[in-house]
């Protein structure tokens, strides 16, 4: 299935372009070697440390990782929402061909809302409590469409409320956020994010606070809207089930770095990084042996002020001793996952010192045997 093979970006571009295969030439968003640092009293937080990826229109990238792995910091950097005084950002972020890093506040603001928009875990943080929901959506529209009248903006907001499945949109227009249920607030925020037809939508844990039944509604809605507006979507979540349901490509982050990247089939069906294995074997499932123990990752996520040397995952990795001590001294690069010259792992990248053969064997023996990737 070559349609699910994302071409990596930020890699040495020495692979010949296969005709008919996707390349990131057409990517709407391209992030290259992104680094985000915060200077704090306790020291320098390297929240994102050399991350690259690309997303095309009509495609969804899922970013997964434990809390504190740098997912939200990555998305805020794309949206230009970090406080420039306390934050150092390097690398490239190209949105529809324009560079975001280093762009002035005013210009980023123009991109934001019109070309890219964000939905958050907590809709109350995005909706102002003192203004009606409808008015906020209409305002978001007028900011980028100064030529339209109030009446037109109002109509547009009502249409959006209707489009995201809020019943009685005309009446709901005049209500305040606290009069909406959790699921409806999330819909209202989606309506506000999409009111200007942005080509890029970043959803940061959009369903984490919701019940599964409402989560299912919101994920369906996002998929419908994507089909309609052909937007590029980044979906940040810690729920691998959600990723499996909606993502085309997956990026796994650990300690501010990308440790694995590939199509959703590659990453969830033949995961290559011991950290990804740990995430997958931790997930309780509705199928398989309910009496079997889960296989957690031992220990805790690292501090980004004082990241472990070499492979940042080594203190928690069951195989840290294998690659001959290098795990402690050498940061593994993100490289093609297959053995040299092997076909079928196109675009699948992993940052681990284990050889492809070792990974295949260990995964089959230790992880697949306890019933993970069925």
């Amino acid at each position: 299935m070559d349609s699910s093979d994302p071409a990596p970006s930020g890699e040495p571009d020495d692979r010949p372009t296969v005709p008919g295969q996707r390349s990131d030439q057409g990517a709407y968003l391209r992030v290259t070697d992104l680094r985000v640092r915060f200077d704090t009293e306790d020291g320098v937080v390297r929240a994102v440390d050399g991350v690259s990826f690309a997303v095309e229109r009509g495609r969804t990238l899922g970013i997964v990782g434990e809390s504190g792995s740098g997912k939200s910091v990555t998305s805020l950097a794309i949206l230009g929402l970090h406080d420039a005084k306390r934050t150092t950002i390097t690398g490239e972020i190209s949105v529809g061909g324009r560079q975001v890093v280093g762009l002035g506040d005013e210009e980023v603001r123009r991109l934001r809302g019109r070309d890219m928009a964000m939905i958050f875990q907590d809709p109350l943080s995005a909706l102002h409590p003192y203004y009606t929901v409808g008015r906020q959506i209409a305002e978001a529209y007028r900011v980028h469409h100064p030529e339209v009248s109030r009446r037109e903006a109002r109509q547009r907001a009502v249409d959006m409320l209707d489009r995201v499945g809020i019943p009685q949109p005309v009446r709901r227009f005049d209500q305040y956020p606290h009069e909406f249920s959790g699921g409806m607030r999330q819909r209202a925020m989606i309506a506000m994010a999409l009111v200007n037809d942005p080509a890029l939508l970043i959803a940061d844990e959009p369903t984490t606070a919701l019940d599964v039944t409402v989560q299912a509604q919101i994920l369906d809605l996002l998929a419908d809207l994507q089909a309609e507006f052909h937007s590029a979507i980044i979906l940040i979540t810690h729920d691998l089930g959600v990723v499996g349901q909606v993502a085309d490509e997956v990026l796994v982050m650990y300690g501010g770095r990308a440790v694995e990247r590939g199509s959703v089939e590659q990453v969830l069906r033949s995961p290559q990084h011991p950290y990804t294995w740990g995430l997958l074997s931790s997930v309780p499932s509705l199928h398989g042996d309910a009496d079997a123990d889960l296989l957690p990752i031992r220990g805790n996520p690292p501090s980004l002020i004082n990241l472990p040397s070499g492979c940042a995952f080594h203190p928690r990795c069951r195989y840290a001793e294998r690659p001959g001590g290098r795990a402690r001294t050498e940061v593994p690069e993100l490289r093609p996952a297959g053995a040299a010259g092997e076909a079928g792992t196109n675009g699948h990248l992993v940052a681990c010192h284990l050889t492809a053969e070792e990974r295949t064997t260990l995964y089959a023996e230790d992880i697949a045997s306890v019933g993970v990737a069925r």
Binding site: M184, Q217, G244, L279, P284, L286, A290, P296
Partner: protein, 348 residues
């Protein structure tokens, strides 16, 4: 496992008055007539959407909330309205673990003091001394006993939840009510804590009422499961009944909404639309009828009783329960809109 229940709950009800100024303007029917038993060493999962009454139930069980009606029997004694003094001898046997590992530990107390507190409050002097017992408990839950003098903020979320578990175990309880003990944790850490609770349950023969909204976690921990909707139990049964042979439409919808990492893509699902109605004014008859695709006239007029099916352990409160053997995915829930029915089947 004895057949004599450790916990026997009948008609348990909690209505919260809603006031505007001094006037009572309504009643939140948070929990409304629950019946269930928990036998010694048994784990019962209590699941359902936000606001369905899980926490309220848990807090009534450990007497943190006064029931409006119904009865709670623990180890053969009626504790429904037991006061502090009457409860004291039972306190040891009945403990609670809270959802939020941050808010439930006093930040100014050392871990040693937090875990020792139940022993001190109940005037218990363990043979080897309090400190030795506390260190033993810390070790039991996988914490370093030398961290006795540390403060909660020096621990991660998963470790704090272990502290809460050690505290709950201090008095060697027979029953623990655990209210979403792993919901706030990352999946990797959640798995550590679930495994720990399973080991403790097995080794110490503890009974649990395990409250959760994540049905997959419950499947890995509980032998029996009760599904709640708007303050009522709509289905209760053994694990295999609930997960493999759900008979209540709501149980089926809930199971089908869970994104499963073992299945890629949107898949065939039952989609419930709309929200849970307000517990201030629940629908007449079957409370689920406003979202149920099988609702008929009788569902609006007659409340379905929670009745056992096929003489087994499984009971379902529905006028039109699923046929046994129908798998949740196989049988469609067509999107008929007849009685305001609001379900759509998304085909793969």
């Amino acid at each position: 496992m004895s057949d004599q229940p450790l916990l026997r709950v009948r008609g348990l009800t909690k209505h919260f008055p809603v006031r505007q100024g001094l006037r009572a303007t309504g009643l939140v029917q948070a929990v409304d007539g629950l019946d269930f038993d928990v036998r010694p060493g048994e784990t019962l999962g209590l699941v359902g959407e936000s606001g369905c009454g899980k926490t309220t139930t848990g807090r009534m069980l450990v007497r943190l909330l006064e029931p409006t009606a119904g009865s709670i029997e623990f180890a053969g004694r009626d504790i429904t309205h037991a006061g502090r003094r009457e409860l004291r001898p039972l306190r040891q046997d009945l403990q609670i673990i809270f959802q939020d590992p941050y808010a439930s530990l006093n930040p100014r107390h050392t871990v040693g003091r937090i875990v020792a507190m139940p022993l001190q409050v109940n005037g218990i002097k363990p043979p080897g001394g309090i400190k030795a017992r506390v260190q033993e408990l810390l070790e039991l839950v996988g914490l370093n006993p030398e961290h006795y003098n540390r403060y909660p903020h020096e621990f991660s979320g998963g470790q704090r939840q272990r502290i809460g578990i050690a505290r709950a175990l201090a008095l060697r309880p027979k029953l623990i009510v655990a209210d979403e003990p792993v919901s706030a944790l990352d999946v990797s850490i959640q798995a550590q804590v679930v495994n720990l609770l399973r080991d403790l349950q097995r080794d110490l023969g503890l009974a649990f009422v395990f409250i959760a909204h994540d049905l997959a976690v419950v499947r890995h921990f509980c032998q029996r499961v009760a599904v709640m909707y708007l303050g009522r139990i709509v289905e209760i049964g053994d694990r295999a009944d609930i997960y493999e042979r759900p008979q209540h439409p709501y149980t089926r919808a809930l199971l089908s909404a869970i994104p499963d990492v073992t299945r890629l893509g949107p898949g065939g699902r039952i989609r419930l639309t709309g929200d849970v109605p307000t517990p201030l004014d629940p629908p007449s008859g079957c409370r689920f009828r406003t979202r149920c695709w099988k609702a008929q006239d009788i569902c609006a007029t007659q409340e379905p009783a929670l009745v056992p099916r096929d003489g087994g352990n499984q009971a379902t409160a529905c006028h039109f329960p699923e046929a046994v053997g129908a798998s949740p995915e196989a049988e469609g829930a067509p999107g008929g809109d007849a009685a305001g029915a609001i379900v759509e089947e998304v085909s793969p």
